[in-house]
Every structure is written in structure tokens, then in C-alpha cells.
């Protein structure tokens, strides 16, 4: 790989800002918080081939927090699934890049998501499918912390461990914020690691989920659990809006925020200037 993961994170972060800034509004906070994970998955961890997006036995990534679609599209475009110029069509009528992930529209997207909780169950179904097929694929999936308030997440959590789906590696984007405020004040999901452990999962906690080296190490660690008889949950302690100070400062307001093209360009310039 010519670029290192830190540079890739910058590219993805800038492309998220570019596409949402071009549109003027979007789920900017929860896209920026998962950039490091997407960089590790698409550029390091997953067995995928952008030239053969439907390759048999490929690893899958199902973004259950479907509103992080723009971040996934940035990863796909930078990985070569489609032209980066297409990122500017985000959410325009007739686009292949809708706000929430759609397997029927976007090359490289393996499952439609957006109604929270469902993508996680779909990932569990895909992991079951991979087991039945015996093709050796690993299924990766990402849920939000607010999404973890959905009962369906815990139905799926129970099923995945009961069926020993050890080819499933899940991530929680634990940025502590949801639309109406903090997760803690609205309907607290803590203690999260204990919950997943109680549901029979391996649990790995990442202190800084926006430190790409920590995320990379955690994914490598999670892979050690493949074949162990248990699925793995990696809890990423992240910052919603990470990388752009004024977006972070919006707090819960950055879930779906307005951002002008000029603001986006300024944020991109600053990210590029960083060492």
C-alpha cells in the first residue's frame, strides 16, 4: 500500500466533508467518527477486490448505522470501487449514493441499511450464511451507540452467540451522542462492555477509536477470535465529528448538520495542513 493508514484517514475525512459540504447538509458527525474504522477495514483488514466486487468468499462489511453511508462511500471510492467524482452526487436525485446504504444502488455495498437495528441482524444472517457455505469469509458490521437502544440489536446479539458465529466481528461507534442529547442522559447503554460480555461475546475496548493505530491493533486482535466459537464486539470510543473542531463543538447537533461548501473547504485545508 503506497499510503499509510493515517494518510488514508485524511483522504476519507476530506471526502466526507467534500461530499456533505457540496450538498450542504448531512450526517456529518457519525460519518467523521468512523473514518478510522473504515480505513482499517477497507485498506487493511478485509479480503475484498474492488475489481470484482461480488467475488465469492469475499469479506462483507454491513454498516448497520446506515446514515454513515457517506463515510462508507468515501472508503469505497478511495479503494477504487467507483470514481471519487461520484461522491459529489451524494443525495442528489437519481444518485447511486443515497444517505443510507443501499445494496441495489451502490457498487460495494452488500446490504441495505437505515432502519436501525436491522443491518445488525442482516449481518448475523450473512455470518450464518458464510458458515453454511463454508467459504471462510468474515462478516464485519458497525452499529451506533444510539442504535444499541434498539431491542433488535440484542435479539441478534443473543442469536449470534447462541449459534457460535465466530466469523462475525462487530463494532460499536461509541461516540456518546445521539440526536436529542447524550446517550447517557436519554437511555443509557452503559455498561456496554459488560452487556456484550454477558451476551456471550468477546469484547475488545478501544480507548481512542479515532486513533487508527489503536483501531488497527484492535481489528488484528479481533481476528484472533475467528474460529473461537464466539463473535467479537469491538467498542470504539470515538468523538462524533472527529477531525473538525467546530463540528465536534456542535455536540448532539452534529448528527445531521448544515455545512457550507466554504466551511467544508476550510476544514479540508486544515486537515491537509496537519502533520
Amino acid at each position: 500500500m503506497e499510503k499509510n493508514l493515517k494518510e488514508i484517514c485524511k483522504d476519507l475525512r476530506c471526502d466526507v466533508l467534500m461530499s456533505i459540504g457540496h450538498l450542504g447538509v448531512g450526517h456529518i458527525g457519525g460519518c467523521l467518527s468512523v473514518v478510522e474504522l473504515l480505513a482499517v477495514l477497507y485498506f487493511e483488514a478485509m479480503n475484498i477486490d474492488p475489481r470484482d466486487p461480488k467475488k465469492e468468499g469475499r469479506d462483507r462489511f454491513i454498516c448497520s448505522k446506515g446514515h454513515a453511508g457517506p463515510a462508507v462511500y468515501a472508503a469505497l471510492a478511495n479503494r477504487g470501487y467507483f470514481d471519487r467524482a461520484e461522491l459529489l452526487t451524494l443525495n442528489q436525485g437519481g444518485t447511486h449514493l443515497p444517505s443510507h446504504c443501499d445494496m441495489l444502488l451502490t457498487t460495494g455495498i452488500d446490504m441495505t441499511t437505515g432502519s436501525l437495528g436491522q443491518g445488525f441482524s442482516c449481518a448475523v444472517g450473512a455470518a450464518l450464511g458464510a458458515k453454511l457455505k463454508g467459504d471462510g469469509a468474515t462478516v464485519y458490521t458497525l452499529i451506533g451507540d444510539g442504535e444499541s437502544q434498539e431491542g433488535q440489536v440484542w435479539e441478534a446479539a443473543m442469536f449470534a452467540s447462541a449459534k457460535g458465529l465466530d466469523n462475525l466481528i462487530a463494532f460499536t461507534d461509541y461516540n456518546k451522542l445521539q440526536i436529542g442529547g447524550t446517550v447517557a442522559e436519554i437511555n443509557d447503554i452503559a455498561p456496554l462492555a459488560e452487556k456484550w460480555a454477558a451476551f456471550g461475546w468477546h469484547v475488545i475496548e478501544v480507548e481512542d477509536g479515532n486513533d487508527v493505530d489503536q483501531v488497527s491493533a484492535a481489528v488484528a486482535h479481533a481476528k484472533l477470535g475467528l474460529g473461537s466459537g464466539k463473535p467479537t464486539m469491538v467498542i470504539l470510543n470515538t468523538v462524533k465529528g472527529c477531525g473538525v473542531d467546530w463540528i465536534v463543538a456542535l455536540g448532539a447537533g452534529n448528527h445531521n448538520a448544515n455545512i457550507t461548501e466554504a466551511q467544508a473547504q476550510e476544514a479540508i485545508r486544515r486537515i491537509r495542513e496537519e502533520a
Binding site: 445494496m103 442482516c122 444472517g125 450464518l128
Partner: protein, 307 residues
Amino acid sequence: MEMRAMYAQCLGELMEKDERLVLLDADLSKACGTFPLRKRFPNRIFDCGVAEQNMISIAAGLNSYGFLPWAESFAPFATRRVCDQIAISVCYAKRNVKIVGTDPGIAAELNGGTHMSLEDMGVVRSLPHLVVFEPTDTVQLQAAMPVLHAYEGPVYMRMNRKEFPTVFPAGYAFDLFRADTLREGTNVTIFAIGLMVSEALQAAEVLAAEGISCQVVNPHTIKPIDKETVLAAAHKTGLVVTAENHNVIGGLHSAVLEALSHDPVPVWAVGAEDRFGEVGKLPYLKEALGLNGAHIAATVRTALQNK
């Protein structure tokens, strides 16, 4: 033979032929008749436990992986409980998942009002891509099962579990998208589905003795309804009665009205009058909700008087 026994027999045959077929249930495979299949196909049947929402989305995920899942539960839990999962994981994502809801409407009998889904068709009928089908008897079910499996898209089948009168002749040719005409007539057309088909045929016999000639048609697929047959049969007699084990809102009655909306004839309804069910055995419930041949015949008489 019970409907569920035929359903399980057909599923077993399909599973022998097609390794992609996997079966999901939510702790109701005993009730749905498929429990014995678990021994034959131990690696292809998954009990999701009492977690229907997860079951439907898992089915969609399995289909995204190339499997052809069937998912079963009681009708209320296979529809209203999982409406959003059917809408997004299955229909919006165009997943080829077959959903089976057993004991719809008054067939739920002793499980009572909480389990008596008189709204299942209304809940799912407005979801794009979804086919909605109700078999009448074991003959039609047996003919339909391979067709449903071969159909490349999502289907909801509402199916009685127990033994019901056989209406269709052995060897009957089934077309998923073609309504079946069971009796020719000239004064009124009765469109009936599910357990109301045999009731409609009984009503037709009674009315024939009174000199009233009934055409009886079974639009077993409520969505997409066979407009051509519905329009032809409705205009042939100029008067329609619909009969369904469902609320008169949202199911067959609505589908027939929609089909006739540009070229209407009077359409009278026999079904649950926008009410919930209640506990009881089938004869009581048929009487209590007016879901029997006598009520169909009475409705036909009233309709003719008002024509």
C-alpha cells in the same frame, strides 16, 4: 390432512431439491408443523427463539448471501410485529424471502384476540414488491409451494394450520397470478379467499335453490390481484360480494375495490367489521364475526335487493 402437514411435506421436498432453501422460525415450528423437518435438515433450519424481528432481518441477510430463506410464525407475529423489517430488510432491499403467517384471523381460535390477525394483509399489502397469497386448501397449497419457491421475490403467505374442506380437484393447475373460477354464475360474483371459499360455495348452493346464480372466484393472490379476472367476473354479473377472514379494511375487499375503481360495480363486504377478534372455537367465531355461508348468502340477498 392438515394444512401445516402439507406445508411441511412440501417444504421437505423443496429442501431435498434445493440446498439453498433454509427455514427460520421463532419458537413456533411445532405449531407450524415443520418441527419434524429439523431431524432431516439439522443444519438448514434455525429456531431464532422468540425474536421475530431478528428472524426476518436474518432471513434477508441469508438471502444476501445466496440462500433462499422461508421464515414462519403465527400471522400477527409474521406481519404486524415485523412490519418494518419486512419493509426495509426484505422489500426495500428486494430480498427473496418467503414469509409464512399461520392461523390468520379466526383460525387462531383458542389463542384469542391477541393472536387473531384480522389485519395482516392490510399491514403488508402496501409494501412494494411483496406478493400476498392465501391458499384455500391442501390441494392449492401443494400446487403453490414449488411456485412460491421458484418465484424470485418476497412473498407473504397467510395459511391456516388445521384441516379445512378441500375445494380444488386433485391435479389442479395453479398460477400464482391468476385467480381461479370455481363456479360460473350470472346474478352475483363472490370473491372469496382462505376459509371463506368453502363458505362461499355453500352459500352459492343455498342461493341456487332460490334461483340466484352465483359466480364464485378465488383470487388467492390478493396482491397483485388478478385484475383481468376480477374485472371480467365483476362486470359479467354487475354485482360483487367479497368474503375474507380479515378486516374488511385493507384486505381482499379493498383489493377488489381498487381493481374496480375505474369501472365500478357495487361491492359488498363479508369480513370482520373493523373489529378485533376474540377467543373461541371456529363455529362460534364464524357466527360471532359473520364469517360463514349464511352471512354471505344474506349479504347477496341484500345486495340484490339494493341493486
